[in-house]
């Protein structure tokens, strides 16, 4: 038999069974109304629960994103001082975080969708419950117990279907938030245990420590690299003009511009570089003069 007919029959059977249990049709109205109000409460709690879960995931996403940004900065810092090994380390850790982040983002979207669905279900149920209350008062005021039966059955069957639908939505949302809670809890535990910290920055943030250690020399090196870069750029066109005269100096300047990459202790570099730099800087002027 067709899927949609079978589903409809299941819902109808459920309503009929509930109706059969009721002895006084008028009592049915009040009892059903109570049940409806309870379900409304339940669906509203469901919306709040999903929202709480969603916010928790959002918080975790923000934390992991910050860690990921930090690793990105570290990778840049490491590269700027020529430590590709450190940069690679930072990027590897970042990639590990990224997969967690992707997972959390998927969860976030699914919770958001669930929240919207449940909010819609709550609004639809609210509208039906309001209608039911009005209908209930009319039936009670207008009809005798015998006459009321059919009207009551109609109203009851109609709202029972909505209640079944909302009930399913609540169940699904509960299942989902339960799963999310378990996963969010696992990530919180990871964070608390420091395992995730290790992933972000090593036990004592070894990448940062290494970068800090190089701090003093790093400033000087970076400054030197910048100066060399400026000089190399400034002198390049003149070197072309002066190739005949300064031919020997040009390769030297290119080599020295490439030099600062391996980070060496500051003093030797500081001593060596001005000397090598001074030559190409002077050379073109000499070439111009000739």
């Amino acid at each position: 038999m067709s899927v949609m007919k079978r589903v409809s029959m299941m819902f109808r059977a459920k309503a009929n069974k509930a109706l059969d249990r009721m002895e006084d049709p008028r009592e049915t109205l009040d009892y059903s109304y109570q049940t409806q109000l309870e379900l409304l409460q339940k669906v509203r709690r469901g919306v709040a629960d999903v929202a709480t879960s969603r916010k928790r995931v959002e918080l975790q996403i923000n934390q992991l994103q910050q860690s990921s940004d930090k690793l990105d900065r570290q990778a840049r810092d490491a590269l700027s001082v020529g430590r590709e090994d450190l940069a690679r380390d930072a990027l590897t850790r970042k990639a590990g975080l990224q997969s967690q982040l992707n997972d959390l983002n998927t969860q976030y979207q699914s919770l958001q969708a669930e929240e919207e669905k449940l909010t819609g279900a709550s609004q639809r149920l609210q509208a039906k419950v309001d209608a039911f209350r009005t209908r209930k008062e009319t039936i009670k005021a207008t009809y005798t117990a015998a006459e009321a039966q059919t009207r009551i059955n109609e109203a009851f069957t109609g709202i029972s279907e909505e209640m079944g639908d909302v009930g399913l939505a609540i169940q699904r949302a509960e299942d989902k938030t339960e799963q999310m809670r378990a996963r969010a809890g696992a990530i919180d535990e990871l964070m608390a245990s420091g395992a995730l910290d290790d992933m972000v920055s090593g036990p004592h943030d070894d990448i940062q420590a290494e970068l800090d250690r190089m701090g003093a020399g790093h400033d000087v090196d970076a400054e030197l690299a910048r100066l060399k870069g400026e000089l190399a750029q400034g002198s390049a066109p003149r070197q072309i003009e002066g190739t005949a005269n300064g031919g020997a100096a040009a390769p030297a300047s290119a080599a020295s511009a490439g030099q600062p990459a391996p980070a060496q202790p500051a003093p030797p570099v500081a001593d060596a570089s001005p000397v090598t730099d001074a030559e190409p800087a002077d050379q073109p002027q000499a070439g111009d003069g000739a």
Binding site: V7, K117, R124, D165
Partner: protein, 92 residues
């Protein structure tokens, strides 16, 4: 006739659409019979899309039961089987 899409609400659909919907429903039923999860997903999506296109939303305060009830968007075959299996499944 009134058609309910679970999780979405009720839609008023012209009676003349019945045979078309029955055809789509038969396709859906066939996928359940041969446990074709993929086919099920696309057949369900097709049926729901058609109902949404030809249906008009029923006013929210209406208390009429639906003639046909459809599983919601993204429902899995397992969920639908559970729905059909026992009377304990539908809460409320």
């Amino acid at each position: 006739m009134i058609v309910r899409i679970l999780g979405e609400g009720q839609l008023q659909v012209d009676d003349s659409a019945a045979s078309e919907l029955n055809e789509l429903d038969a396709k859906l039923e066939a996928t359940v019979e041969r446990s074709d999860e993929r086919g099920f997903a696309s057949a369900l999506a097709e049926l729901l899309a058609r109902v949404r296109t030809i249906g008009r939303p029923v006013e929210p305060g209406a208390l009429e039961p639906s003639e046909l009830i459809l599983p919601g968007e993204g429902a899995t075959m397992a969920e639908v089987r559970k729905l059909l299996a026992g009377d304990g499944m539908i809460p409320g």
